[in-house]
Symmetry: C2
Subunit: 225 residues, 2 copies
């Protein structure tokens, strides 16, 4: 479902250039569950943003479901992002002025789902991450781990075939993290594809494959165990 | 250094009231190194914000170095926060429009340190967290773990006698986290007091005492090991 070759992404800074991704080759098949690990600053979030069609590379090729992403027009990209991809951001990226329920509703509004159904699905998604009693809280009225869980619920509510989660358990205690990972297992068992960035070896070992990144390149890519 | 009795903090939400902290008793002596753990939403950040004088309780007493914090005027509180307390926020709270160096300089500007010395100290603090080559990046030009480290450098630059760190390693790989924890060990060895919120049992076991919170109350408080 994901075919990447020679992917590059650089940032000019003054007269230097930072090669955040320096030639990445990666293939992910439908239904796989992979974890991405690597040091802070090694390029994991940069790679996730490119895979999630939220950023464009400076070099290389990226095909999603066989279609060259660089050849897609904005409208098509937006539809792909909304219908097929669920993204949990490392910094959550919630709408501060809206409550949890409305934040989780947003992808469904974009997808044209009718009000009654989308409210029902958003409520269910929040209950599934343990926030049934926090639906009307805005992000500033939630704890760090609760905001993280709203971001997770929002990523799951549109039943994505590809889940991209950038450090989804970093602000969660072990028990709550375990519940989220069980939810991810169920999504995987339903035939969906999951790509998780994590610093936690225990979280990574729930995946079937571990990809390690260093200095903008893939250092190793192995089945787990 | 910290003496807390019956501390309470509630948030009215519609016609309900959320008791984020529901009667907390806590004593921390000078030079102690304690970890605070507990489920997501149990009141850890709320407690840290009260200890850091960033919020006021609805009930109970808090004495810092023997002085009743509720009796302090704004000016005195601000000076205490700047001179004695270093705070690493769970969501970093960096100034988006300023680069890393300027963000770390801020507490020194407030403390009236002269320009040449404060630039030198800010640079050193950033090098100490491995960001010597990222000083001129703004937060949006940094990875999640790099932003976390800028927040840590900013908390340490004024040589606080009390460090309050709310999940300081949540976005860091094991190696980088280990470097930060060694820096904390050195701060502790110099006679300072450290209070760390963490979800990571390995991080908690670097402390000498583990305090567990559940539903706004202290559930257990033991020496480690
Ligand atoms: N807009 C930008 N301008 C300049 N440099 C950038 C920018 N965005 C990211 N970088 C740099 O690119 C590198 C890769 O960043 P990225 O966010 O992908 O790292 P990461 O592996 O996700 O790290 P972490 O584990 O800390 O989240 C970092 O060294 C970062 O400083
Ligand atoms: N402004 C607010 N209004 C209403 N409720 C709030 C507000 N701020 C926090 N809360 C609630 O208070 C409780 C405690 O929040 P707190 O941020 O202290 O939790 P925490 O232990 O730090 O959790 P985490 O591990 O997820 O960071 C949470 O259930 C949260 O929903
Ligand atoms: Mg990242
Ligand atoms: Mg918290």
């Amino acid at each position: 479902v994901i075919a990447i070759r020679g992917l590059r992404r650089s940032y000019p800074m003054g007269d230097a250039v930072i090669a955040a991704l320096n030639g990445v080759d990666l293939e992910v098949r439908r239904g796989e569950y992979a974890a991405i690990m690597g040091p802070s600053g090694s390029g994991k979030s940069t790679l996730m943003n490119l895979i999630g069609c939220l950023d464009t590379p400076d070099g290389g090729e990226y095909r999603l479901n066989g279609r060259l992403v660089s050849a897609m027009k904005d409208g098509e990209l937006a539809t792909v992002r909304n219908r097929e991809i669920g993204f949990v951001f490392q910094t959550f990226n919630l709408l501060q002025s809206a409550n949890a329920l409305h934040n989780v509703e947003m992808p469904l509004i974009y997808a044209g789902v009718k009000r009654r159904e989308r409210l029902e699905r958003a409520r269910t998604a929040l209950r599934d991450v343990g926030l049934g009693d926090r639906m009307h809280h805005r992000p500033s009225e939630l704890s760090g781990g609760q905001r993280q869980r709203v971001a997770i619920a929002r990523a799951l509510v549109n039943r994505p075939s590809l889940l991209l989660a950038d450090e989804p358990t970093g602000n969660l205690d072990t028990t709550t993290a375990g519940e989220i990972l069980s939810t991810f297992d169920a999504l995987h068992a339903a035939g969906n594809t999951l790509l998780l960035v994590t610093h936690d070896e225990e979280v990574a070992h729930r995946a079937r494959r571990i990809i390690r990144i260093r200095d903008g390149k893939i250092e190793s890519d192995r089945a787990n165990p």
